[in-house]
Each structure stands twice: as C-alpha cells, then as structure tokens.
Symmetry: D2
Subunit: 214 residues, 4 copies
C-alpha cells in the first residue's frame, strides 16, 4: 500500500508550519505501507494542482493532507470539506477569495473517505489527544481537502482521501500574549504515524461515538 | 414579509434552552416583518417534521432556526448544514444515530440562504459579538437546518432558510466547574431581532471578510 | 451603614471601563445602606491617594473597589493583595514599575476583610457566575486594594475593605480576534448590588468551599 | 551547589502526577549543580514535614518545589505563597481545611526567593512556553511553598526557595470532554532543567516585564 502525505509550507506570519515539521519526522514505511511525502504551497489552486500532479504520478492508495490549526488542542481528522473559499487572510501569494465556490461543478461538500473514527481511536490509544472535526475552515486547508476529493470523485479513482489538522508546536506559542495550546513536533509526528496505521488497517471506518453537539 | 423563527426545547440535562427563552422575548414585528415563533422538540426527525408543517401552514419568506451552543462565545449564524447525523448524546426521545445520512437523496450539504455576513455585521453594530460558524455540529441542530433546507430545495420553494447558534445564559453556567462563556437572554433576544432585521433588509448577502482559517 | 464603592477610569486602550459603567448603574441605597460612588484614576499612587481621601472624608463602614479583568468569565472578589507592583503595561500616566514593593513598611500581603465567600454565594443565588480569585494581578488593581487595606491597617480603622474584578462588557469584545468572555453592564451592576448586600448582611464571612487547586 | 527538587504524588483522581514524571526524567547534575530529588505526599502538613526533613538533611542551596496545574498552558514559576489553606477537594488523606491559616505566627505571604523572571526567560529561550504566576492556589501546592519559605525564614537559613507549576501531560487529557492544554513529560523535564540552570546562574533575579494586569 502507498500513502501520499502532504503538508503546507508556513503561512500567516509563522516561521514554521508544524504540519511540515512533523511530516518530515515521519517514518517512510508504516505497518508495511510506503509513505510518500509532499510539500504543497499555502496558495489557492496551486496547492490542489501540486497534490493532483503527485496523485497522478504516484497513484497512491490513500491521500492524507496535513495542515496547521493554530488554537486547536488536539489532532483532528476532518469529516467534510465544503465548496467554499472565504479567506480571512491572504494566502502566500496574496490571494484572498471571499465567498466563492471552489469548483462550480462540484458537490456542495465531500466527506472524507479516510476512517476518521478509527484514526481518532488509534491516536488516543497511543496516548495523544484527538477528535473528529466537522469543519476544516474556509481557507487553503479546506480548499485542498475539497480539491483532492473533487479530483478523486470526478475521475472515479479508487483512492481514499482526507485531511488532518494539527496544533501549534511549543516554539510557536512562546511569545504569544494569549495562551495557546500546542503539541511537540515529535508527538505530532507520532500521531500522524498512528493515523497512517489506522488508514492502512481500516478499509472501512469503525462505528464509534465521536460527533459534536454544535 | 413573514419570518418563521424556531427554537428547541431544553436538552442535555439543561433546565432551559437559551434559544427558546430568547425567542419568547423577541418582538412580534421587526422592521415591518411579521415574526412567527415555533418551538420544536430536540428530537431527530420530529424537529424537521414540525418545522416543515409550520412552513407549509405559514408559507413564510424566510425561516430562521435558533439553537443552543453551550461553550460558544457569540451569536453565530451557520454557513452550512451537512448530510450527517452523528450524535454524541441521546436526543430527548433516546435516539442516538451514529454516522448516518439525514436524507439518502439529499445533497452532501446545503448552504444557508440567509445573509450570514449581513447578520453578523448588523449584530456587531448593535454592540453584541457575532461571527460566521462553519459547522452546526452533527446533532439535532445541524439535522434541523439540513432538513429545512432539503425540504425547501426539493420542493423548489422561494423561501430562504438558515440557522443561528446562541451561547448559554448566565444562569446556566453558575454551577459549572469549568468556566463557560454566556450572554444574557435579553441580549440574545436583541441579537436575534437584529438578525431578523438583516434578513428583511438584505435579499442578497453582503461581501465581507468573515471566514475562518480552520 | 455606608459603603464606598470605587471604580477605575478606562485603561489599556479600552474606550470604557466596565467597572465604571456598572458602578454608575448601581442603586444609591442597598438594603438600607448608603452607597457612595468614587471614580479613581488608573494610575499608581494617585488611585490610592484619591481613595484614601474619600475614606477620610466619608468614613464608610466598608470599601469595595471594582476593576476590569478582561478575559475573566465571572465576578471575582479578590482574596488577597500582595506588596508588589509589576506592570505589564504603562498606567494612564506612563508609569510602569517592575517588581517594586508598594509600601516598604507594609505586610507582604493583606487579606480582604470583606465576606468574599458570602459575596460569591449571594451573586450566584442571583443567577450570575462568581468565584473567589486568589490574585488581583500586579497592576493598579492589586495596587489599590493593597493601598486601601494598608491604610486601614496602619491607622487601625474599623473599616472593612476589598476588591472585586468584573469581566468585559459585550461592546468591548465585538472586534476582538480572539474570543473573550463578557457580562452585560446591567448584569455587572446587579452583581455588584448583590455584593454590597452580602457585605451589609455578613459582618463575618461564611464557611464555604471555594478555594482553587492552583 | 546543591538543588533540592520536590514533586508530589498523584492526586485528584489522576493516575500520574506530571511533576513527578518529569522530575524523574531530570538529569542529576545541571551546569555543575547536584540535583537531589524528593517525592512528597499530596497531604497537608506531611508534605511540609517531608520537605523540611530533607532540607535539614541535605542542606541545599535552593529548593524548587514542582506541582501539577491542570488547565494551565505553560510552565509557571510562582511569585508568592499566601498564609491560607482553602481546599476545594480532599487531599490524599482526606483533609479539607477551609479558610485556615497555615502558620498562625507566619507572615501573610512569602515571596519566592528564586529568580522567577530569569527562569521564565531561560525556559522561553529554550523554546518552551513559560510565565510568572501570581497565585499558587489554596491547596497543597501553595501550602508546601508557604511551609518551605516559612521554615527558611524562621530559621534564618541562607537557602533560596520557590515553586513551579507544570501542565498536564498528553496522556492525562486524552479522555477529557473539555479540551485541556498539556506539555509532554520530556518537555516538562527539559523546562525544569532550564529552571535549575537559571537558579544556579542567577543569584539575583533579573528585571524584565512579566507581571499580569489581573
């Protein structure tokens, strides 16, 4: 089995992107599956283009996109990507779309085809906090997740795809005035390896309580 | 113009539902529009059934569903409802669906057709905190919003619809061990009246920054 | 009985001070006690000077100082003032002492002589969140509380004294990027009236669980 | 130089105490100073007794007490201990004092004689979040810090003393319903080593902005 793992470059004034730092630390083989790593730019469209090219080239069994969610407390696989760009800040090339659909012929949303409940269970059993998230936001993270799932759906490919958000690392919060949660890059990397393990070992997701009231 | 405003009864062990308390306090006429109030049960399916019956009977120009979001800091109009029930707790009749679609023939998601950015702007200009939310959760709130928008879409009705979440009231957090934000019922009611005003005065939404990074 | 209630003017870039707004809204007589209101400047030394002058002039039975605690969730009577100025920001006249004692001949700390547990109980029974705080910080709030209690102790006056912190009002948090808790000015005023009621009715404090683990 | 480092055993239903786990991981020699480690029970009086006995036996140059502060985001050296036991929960032997002084002949408070600003600076330069705290609570942590400083003051010993609080570890928050911050045990241990380094290298504290507004 082959898993393509993507991570964004730093954005929003940050010097690092914890997703990228952690993906670099991940093993290249996990429970027998090959891990192919790819850095994508935090830029609308270009992030999708680069990921789609890698999908075409590598023909992986699954795609796991990883992004920074500053302010979140845990590792959070995303349930759904929505057909909407609504940018609070400029991306790394100055784009800032407001309330625009990503693909006019796309579904209103695509659900993750990764086993998100199994991923949460695996990570938590490894001693790290995790939970299902029901929004990937409306910036480049949601955009990439939507674009990858759109591409897979439109081309009827037999590839599973999804996204996982990760917290800041400690270095990123040292100088913040407002307290912010964080996770060490080593722990994020370990959590991502457990996520890949869950992907490899669960073709179908498990049934577990894990929704949110709001 | 006629606006149907729905609110849930109390759930999750709470003695009151701030949505219901606040809707009761709302004026019956706002900038010339008639406000019709409806209590719906915090029960899967039955909440949709009751709202749809009222839509059939009242034939309103817009439907604004209101629900409690304990732990949220502000009034948050929802951008999107997803085709997924995933219940963390039992509803008021003991139902607890896990990862089930709401309507098998429904879209993966429906976007709010209320002017969510205009609502946020109007409430904030009135001195109360508000922001667009990109997830209504996976419990009965998302369920009702999805069901109302599904019904409107399937029947090709010329009705706008959407959802707004409101915080706890002060009474609800007095005995909590963990600090929780809240808003007074009077302020919630005033915020909801401003939301109705924005709905009446904005047939189309405005273009404002208001997305979320994640 | 006569209660002197002080409130600071706005500081730290805020347009209002919720303590001042709320104190203005308080009744002038509460359970038979006269309430004398005093605005003090958010300035080291001058705040103490103005409060002490009012104490000399009014000879109240108790002094309740009120200040803004942006970021706190509830009304929090302070347990103790420490003999330390350590200013994170400049006060309203540009002073910024770092790690300096307030009075060289003062105790390391003075405990509130107001019935803080009774105040919390009274406010919570009134439906508003409240808890005992064990730090008034190291800015002008702690400075004033310490100064008032130092003055009373050194002059062996039969006056009770203490401090209560109050959250932001909704208007203050509308434009913040980071979510912040708040309480309406009307509710803050009502909470302060309940605090005065508790002061009038409890010469000695009650014994209730209300400490903090850290 | 010799530094006595104490850590509590688990309390409050937790299976581990992150302070104890991290202290176990600390090196036994830091920048030339010997580190002597001591576990103390989370019990009023007995914690002080055990620490005082170790001080008598080891005659250290400084005492650094370490405790768990569940819910805090960073490593926080305490500025001050107050003469007050006010227990929200029972200690590990069922004691729960309410509003009682720790020593009737003690000062109202004792300030840390460790270089708290230098400790914060050293830890932050090491890439970990840290800040000065102005309250150690009113449970056994404050009790021990007060007791150690009282003992040193009463016996006119030339020993510096103080306390540092540490967050939960990831394992402790995995099953919490409410999100909670955490730090890995390895990072806590590294932060504590940096704290000891700051103690060894700073006989006097440095002057840095680091107070709190409230």
């Amino acid at each position: 089995m082959k898993i393509l793992v993507t991570a964004f470059d730093p954005f929003g004034g940050e010097k690092i992107n914890p997703a990228l730092e952690a993906v670099k630390l991940m093993k290249d083989e996990i429970v027998g599956a090959e891990v192919v790593k790819l850095m994508v730019p935090t830029v609308f469209r270009k992030s999708i283009d680069k990921a789609v090219k890698a999908i075409e080239k590598e023909n992986p069994d699954a795609v796991l996109c990883v992004g920074q969610a500053g302010g979140r407390f845990d590792l959070s696989p995303e349930r759904v990507a929505i057909n909407m760009d609504d940018s609070r800040i400029e991306d790394n090339e100055g784009n800032q779309p407001i309330d625009e659909p990503i693909y006019k012929d796309g579904d209103s949303a695509y659900f993750s085809t990764l086993p998100i409940k199994a991923i949460v269970k695996e990570i938590r059993e490894g001693g790290l906090p995790a939970s299902v998230s029901n929004t990937a936001g409306t910036f480049v993270c949601n955009h990439l997740m939507y674009g990858v799932l759109y591409h897979i759906a439109k081309n009827e490919k037999n590839i599973r795809g999804g996204f996982i958000h990760v917290p800041f690392t400690p270095e990123q919060v040292v100088n913040r005035l407002t307290p912010s949660p964080y996770m060490s890059a080593e722990d994020i990397a370990r959590g991502l390896e457990l996520a890949v393990k869950a992907i490899v070992e669960n073709e179908e997701d498990i049934s577990e309580i894990g929704g949110k009231i709001h």
